[in-house]
Homo-oligomer: 197 residues x 2
């Protein structure tokens, strides 16, 4: 299990996301956090490649500041609706627009992750389909008032008030929260098996 493997190392989570910290706590992993201050540009390329590149940039930025003895873990989450990437909303109006587009529709959440050990690194990604119920305008307005949409890609959180708007998902739930737990475990075991951690 992840705690058994990783608690032999000094682990740095290269993220300030409270959701990712919650997931690491849930898994019993001892870790520090360090912010990378890396931009997450939205470009025209494939969303999975963008998410992995952003994650790798974050891990490399943190690696460059350290002593090379830590295990660094980073992630980048992207919300894609009908080919369009929805970032963190810059205003209540933009949050309203995003949620209007997401309602009664299915979108994709992609999280790229990167794990960097002393002797090598591995990146990967996970994608999950998320279906929203048909929301009323009043529901969207009430939801924006909770402040939950403000700091989240796509203007919603699946693990809070937003849970009541989601009818079903297909794939990894934790990926939608911002960190694909099973994929992370597989990458960890692969790096261990190849002696790279």
């Amino acid at each position: 299990m992840l705690d058994k493997i990783l608690n032999e190392y000094k682990v740095i989570l290269a993220s300030q996301s409270p959701r990712r910290r919650d997931i690491f706590d849930m898994l019993g992993i001892n870790y520090h956090t360090q912010s990378s201050n890396i931009a997450e540009p939205i470009t025209g390329e494939d969303p999975a490649l963008q998410a992995m590149r952003n994650a790798r940039n974050k891990a490399e930025a943190v690696f460059a500041t350290g002593d090379g003895q830590s295990v660094i873990v980073s992630a980048d989450t992207i919300v894609v609706l009908e080919g369009r990437i929805l970032g963190k909303p810059e205003s209540a109006e933009q949050a309203y627009g995003y949620l209007s587009d997401l309602r009664a529709n299915t979108h994709t959440v992609i999280t790229g992750i990167c794990m960097m050990g002393r002797k090598g690194q591995k990146c990967g990604y996970e994608q999950t389909q998320v279906s929203f119920a048909p929301l009323t305008d009043e529901e969207i307005r009430d939801y924006i008032k909770t402040q939950e949409p403000a700091d989240k890609a796509g203007a919603y959180g699946i693990q809070g008030f937003g849970s009541q708007f989601i009818t079903r998902i297909e794939g990894c739930y934790f990926n939608v929260m911002g960190f694909p737990v099973r994929r992370f475990y597989e990458i960890t075991k692969d790096l261990i098996a190849r002696g790279l951690l």
Copy 2:
């Protein structure tokens, strides 16, 4: 949203499950809990009918002790693998057997819920497909040592250490945790629309 509707009422959650309390907290619902001490017999009938009947029995038991002015919410979660119901494991050996059967396989989690207002009630259920990774014997033994399997139907929790064993789900995540949030919201709105709450 659920908090806006339900915080006009005195709400009783007829469950002692920490997971269900976490979900009510997440939704911002003010509530009390009251245990029903109702048996959850496993019978030969359809699992969805069993889950709904168990939930209704819990709600009615709590309703009978009250003043008839509260809104009572109850749930019962059943894990079904290839037609067989897996209850809470009675020993580490039984937990080991359940997890051996679940690995590299897909099962169904069904939660029946019942909501009882002053003037009427409504029950429903939700089902989610859950796919497990192929686990090693060592992983199963390590997982049982965490104590997480002990008090959970099917001997696992999706929201804890168990998260690293689950490759994908299809349906409502919170249903697997023990309480189908979206279904609950739909039932609440239906009871309100019919003037039964």
